[in-house]
Structures are given as C-alpha cells and as structure tokens.
C-alpha cells in the first residue's frame, strides 16, 4: 500500500511538472505573438473612434502589469490560475475569461469525452473481430473504413452531413442548441435538444478517433494472438469467445487504456476545425476566433492550458488505473505479489 501511495505521488508530481513545462511553452508563445494586450485593446478602442495617445498605451501597460519582467509575469499567470482559478481578462472582448469559458469549456469537454467513449465502444469489438476473423475480405473492408476515417478531413464529413440534412430535413444542424434553447437555463428539454444536435460533432470527431483506436486494437490483438500463452489456452480446450475475452483481448486492452490520453489529445486537436464548420458555441471555436481573427493571446493561452491540463489529468488517471488493473505493472509498483 505504501508503495502504491508512493507511486501515485510520483506520478502526480510528474504530471505537475509536465503541466508547468507546458505552461511555460504556452506562455512564452503568447509573449512572442507580435503586439501586447495593451496595444491591442487600445487599437480596438481607436477603431471605436476615441483618440489614443502614446501615454495611454503606457498607462494601460502598467495597469496590466506588462512592464514587469517576463518571469515575474509567468509566475503571476501560473499562480493566479492555481491559487485563484483566475485566467485574467481577455484582451479584446474585455471580459473575464472565467466567465467566458465556464460553460463552453464544459461543453467542449463533454463533446470530446462522449466522442471518445463512442469511439472505444465501436473500436474495441470491431478491432477484435478484424484481427481474429477468418474472412480476409471482412478484415480488409473494416481496415478500409477505418483508413477512410483517417483520410477524410473532419470538416468535409461535417459539411457533407450538413448538406444532406439541409436538403432532406431542412435543418442545417449548425450550433449546439435550437434557437429557443440558446439562452435558456439547463432543463430536461434543453438536454434533449442538445443531444439532438450534438450527435453530429460527436459522430464526426468519433469516426476519426475510432479509426485510430481500431488500428491500435487490431495490431495489439494480432500480436497477442500469436503468443504462446494463447496457444497453451487453446491446447487446454478453451475456444471461441471465452478464449478471446479471457486471454488476448484482456491483455491487449492495457495499452489501449494507456492511449486514452493521446486519443483525447487527438480529438481536442480536431475539435476547433469541426467547431468552425458547425458554428458551435464552445471553446474550440473560441480558440480559432482568438488565434486566427483577433490575436487574443490571453484567451488562447487559457484555452490551451485547460485542454492540456485535462489531458495531463487523464494521463495521470489512466496510469493509476493501469497500475491497479494490470498485474504486471501492479507487481512492479507495489512489489511482491
């Protein structure tokens, strides 16, 4: 038990260090973006018609603390996030980022997680079938479909489905809510409405993720299937489903659990582009808005930080789960039997 706690603490420590490195990279990137927050805000004010002088910019810089050295600001940014859970204000929108993101980030996370679960639910059984089937053509066609999931750009799939829905059902399926629920508080009806629309991004993101997960499961199953312990089990007269689930499938799931974090990473990565096409009001779309249109470094930094923190957390959890589930790792962690 002591060993296990030690293992957990080491992992937690490593996760925190990773997060700090990522923070540093993200923060440096944000610093390198040409122009500062103060200039951007005042430029925005300028377009609104008010006259801006050089002194105004300086005053605004001091107000935002931009005159302080780099490491001081980095420390302040991180400590604000950790201690006060405060991401500061957005450069352009002049809103507190927490308010801006609170609902949206949860939405993005839900979409991604559901897509992830959906992809695993399909990929694991289909991958096992693909690896163990006697029919080469079935294996080949399953492989082709999953490759197609990689090759078709996400936004293209989204667009085609949108077009199809528009032509045949007269609803473009854009956005996450129908108009009447857009600003309504959460209720059973709103959830229903959300699910009725969110299946499209979930499907699009999920197909892509399924393709990858399928490849992993298939390759692992093929590897495990040739191993001696499977042959030994066969020799003892175990066959069919019970053989598959008790021996090779069980063992090939370990690396799959390990890859959850990276799959989530991939889904997050694809989210902004899909969000752009489907006009979703969530964090991915906001990120594109912040980077491609308005150069809002504060907001972009906050979103990337949140995404990465989620992935680091998921990686941490899967490590712990693996240590509990897999006897080989459990032994290594806890020592003895």
């Amino acid at each position: 038990m002591i060993n296990f706690i030690q293992f957990t603490l080491t992992r937690a420590f490593l996760a925190v260090v990773t997060l700090l490195i990522v923070c540093f990279i993200v923060f440096s990137l944000m610093e390198l973006v040409p122009g500062t927050c103060a200039e951007r805000y005042l430029a925005f004010k300028n377009t609104q018609g008010s006259q801006i002088t050089f002194e105004d910019i300086e005053a605004e810089k001091i107000r935002l603390g931009l005159d302080k050295p780099f490491f001081y600001r980095y420390g302040k940014w991180v400590s604000d996030i950790v201690v006060r859970q405060d991401f500061g204000d957005s450069c352009i929108l002049r809103m507190n980022i927490n308010e801006l993101l609170s609902g949206r980030f949860v939405l993005s996370l839900t979409i991604c997680l559901v897509a992830l679960i959906f992809s695993y639910l399909i990929a694991i059984p289909v991958g096992i079938i693909s690896a163990t089937t006697k029919y080469v053509s079935l294996d080949q066609s399953l492989k082709f479909i999953s490759y197609l999931g990689i090759a078709l750009p996400n936004f293209l799939v989204a667009l085609c489905i949108m077009l199809f829905m528009t032509v045949y059902f007269g609803d473009t399926m854009t956005g996450l809510f129908s108009q009447e629920y857009e600003n309504a508080p959460w209720s059973a009806d709103k959830v229903k409405d959300f699910l009725g629309r969110a299946w499209l991004p979930i499907f699009v993101l999920g197909w892509n993720a399924t393709a990858f997960a399928l490849q992993t499961v298939r390759a692992l199953m093929l590897d495990e299937n040739d191993k001696l312990y499977v042959m030994a089990a066969k020799a003892r007269g175990i066959s069919g489903m019970s053989l598959l689930w008790r021996y090779p499938a069980k063992h090939s799931l370990g690396p799959v659990i390990n890859s959850i974090g990276f799959d989530l990473n991939r889904i997050f990565s694809a989210l902004p582009v899909v969000a752009l096409i489907l006009i979703l009001t969530e964090a991915g779309a906001l990120l594109i808005e912040a980077l491609a249109r308005s150069n809002d470094q504060q907001l972009a930094g906050a979103i990337i930080f949140l995404l990465t923190a989620t992935i680091v957390f998921v990686n941490f959890v899967t490590d712990i789960i693996l240590a509990i589930m897999d006897p080989r790792i459990r032994k290594g962690v806890m020592g003895g039997g």
Partner: protein
C-alpha cells in the same frame, strides 16, 4: 526439390533490404496504393507540362468563371472525330435568364484538342529566395519551358472546371498536390533531423539527460497539435510573401511532429546499445563511429523510413487543416488546403460541385500513403512471417 532448396538458400542469404522488398512487392494492396501514389507524385512533378494554364491568377480565363468541367469527346450527333474536341461556348445574358450570365453550348462548332502545344511558361529549378534582409535575396534562373501536353487553339479547356476567378481547377489541383507534398516533405525532413538529434542524444547518453529530454518530449506530446500549430502560425504576419509563409508553415509542421519519432529512435538506441553484436564489435576494436554507421544506423533505417512514410499523411492533414482555418498557406499559393477552403461555401456545395474534385485527390493521396506505410511496416517487421 531443387527449386525449393534454392529458394531457401536465397531466403537465408538475402540482405534485410532484399527481404523487405520481396515482402512489400508481395503485398497487393500496398502495391496498388504505391503505384497510384507514384503516378500522382510524377504528375505533380510535371504539373507545369501537364496543366494547360497557369495555376495562378495570371492563367485565369475571364470568359469562363465558375465554369463546369469540360470533357473532351470523340463524337457527337455530327459524327465521329479521331481527334478529341470540345463544343464552343458563348456567354449569354438576357431577359429569359434574369440577366445572369449563362453559358450556351454551340454544338455546331467544334474546337479540337491539340497535343504538345505552346502555352504559358513554366520553370524548373528556378528559385527566388526572399528572406528578410537584403543580403539574403538571390535568384537562380533555372530552365524555362512552354510546351504543354494538351491545349486548344481558341477558347479554353478546363477538365475540372474553373473557380470564381476563372482559374483552371485542373492546373490548380496539380500544382496544389505538388505544393502540399513539398510542404509535407520539408516538414517530415525537419522533424526527422530533430528527432534523430534529440532521440539520439537521449538514447546515447541515457541517465539524467535522457530523463530531462523525455520529460520535455512528453510535455510537447500532451499539447493538442492543431491548437499548437494555430498558436505558432498566428505569428506569421499577414504581409509575409507567400514563399516565406510556405517555408514557415513547413518548419512548423516539422517542429511540432518530432516527439513521436524521437521517442522511437531513443527506445531503439537504448535497447540496441546493449546488444551482443555491439559488444562483439567493440571487442574487435571497432571505433564508435564505425559502430554507429555500420551497425546501429542500418539496424533501424527501415523503421525510420516506415515511420517517415506513416507520418506523411498527418503532415498533409495538418497542412490542410491549418490552411483551411486561414492560418496556413494563402491564396496566391495553391495547396490542397487552400483549394478545400474554397469548396466549403454553401453556394459552392449547391451549385458548383466541381470545386470538390481536389478533395477527392486529397483523400486518395492520404489513403495511398496510409496503405503504403502499412505495407512498409509489415514488410520491415522481421518477426512477421506471413502476409
């Protein structure tokens, strides 16, 4: 009996590369994909010769905007012709069309397709490097040609139709495949060099250097790549020339995608370093350069090649995604991403479906790459006896 023992001998004395080649050639789907891929690469390399029009705005056909694809035919109701021909189009606008320009087809007038015609000039090995700073600008003249595979004497020939500025989509697609492949190659090359250096140092030295480098690699791997790309691409000022932008985007692709390969190099070096054959070589008095060049490198070149081919489609997809959101390559440059961006407007979907032809090529390109990568991976795996 004679034959099979000969076969056996050939099998056991074959070098690693020969074995890989035989296994790869035996893989039907990989071979088909490989041939298609090769064909597309050759076509894109000779895009200047194959495309009848300049893919940039200079080659636009102002009499045929948003025009549908024109397929050369061999016969119509007036009979057969051994030389393929097109019908003549005329622009027409009147009360009956609500004063919108439409194209009328005149089936009486044929325009014949000629081969090896003279047309716009294209250049090979011509580089105009325009880096920031005057001293770094230089020009290599290269070779200029103006012969094209096919063309028509009057009017235009647009196999894939034209876009809203009248640019020929066929020419654009060819040059876009070329550009996208070039971006991918440059990106793969940069990531290859980086991963060799970082993975190499990490695997060669081991110890704390390895731990620190691994932590850094893992940290980069946890950041979702597309947001990171977007972040970096947001640096490129709008006023940059298209060549500079092209170079910058390729570098970005390379800078972000090295961690996976670096990890593989490191793992391989770590496990290979302690193998007996390395020890044997050391005992024989081989220098470490000799060991690295003669033993370590050949032991994983096949893996590296496979990894490079596998990472190629992701480079292409990242480039398309980036260009698609408007942070990657931009208009005067043709890339598959730029062409896709044009295809996503609603009126395009409903009225000008030929804008989607480049999309088809992108999908085929990525699929063939994936299949070839898959075949190579199977072929390079020495433990795999079947397939």
């Amino acid at each position: 009996m004679e034959v099979s023992s000969k076969k056996k001998e050939a099998y056991y004395t074959a070098t690693q590369m020969q074995l890989v080649r035989t296994r790869f050639f035996g893989n039907r789907s990989a071979m088909i994909a490989g041939s298609i891929l090769l064909f597309m690469i050759v076509c894109s390399l000779f895009s200047g010769f194959l495309s009848p029009y300049d893919p940039t705005i200079a080659g636009r056909d102002k009499d045929y905007e948003n025009g549908a694809p024109q397929i050369p035919m061999f016969w119509d109701e007036n009979g057969f012709s051994p030389r393929p021909f097109l019908h003549t189009l005329s622009k027409y606008r009147g009360k009956d069309t609500n004063f919108r320009w439409v194209y009328k087809i005149d089936t009486e007038k044929r325009r014949y397709v000629y081969f090896f015609v003279k047309g716009w000039e294209y250049k090979y090995f011509n580089y105009k490097i325009n880096l920031p700073g005057k001293a770094l600008d230089f020009t290599i003249p290269g070779f200029t040609f103006d012969t094209h595979l096919f063309g028509v004497k009057e009017g235009g020939i647009h196999l894939f139709g034209t876009d809203k500025a009248g640019k020929d989509l066929f020419s654009r697609t060819l040059s876009a495949i070329y550009i996208s492949l070039a971006v991918g190659t440059l990106g793969v090359f940069i990531s290859f060099v980086l991963s060799l250096i970082i993975g190499g140092i990490s695997g060669y030295y081991g110890g704390w250097i390895d731990s620190v480098l691994q932590m850094f690699t893992d940290a980069i791997r946890t950041v979702p790549p597309i947001p990171l790309f977007m972040c970096l691409a947001a640096f490129a000022p709008l006023e940059w020339s298209s060549e500079l932008r092209f170079f910058f985007i390729s570098c970005l692709l390379g800078l972000i995608s090295w961690p996976t390969l670096a990890r593989r190099v490191r793992t391989h070096l770590l496990s290979e370093r302690s193998q007996e054959y390395i020890l044997a070589a050391q005992m024989c008095g081989a220098s470490s350069t000799h060991i690295i060049i003669r033993h370590l490198l050949p032991s994983f070149t096949s893996y590296i090649i496979v990894d490079l081919v596998i990472s190629f489609p992701y480079m292409l997809l990242s480039e398309t995604a980036l260009s698609f959101i408007g942070l990657g390559l931009r208009e005067p440059v043709n890339s598959l991403g730029v062409l896709l961006q044009n295809a996503t407007k609603a009126d395009v979907l409903l009225n000008y479906q030929w804008y989607f032809i480049p999309v088809f090529f992108l999908v085929v390109l990525i699929l063939t790459f994936v299949y070839v990568g898959d075949g190579l991976r199977d072929a390079a795996d020495p433990h795999k006896t079947k397939n």
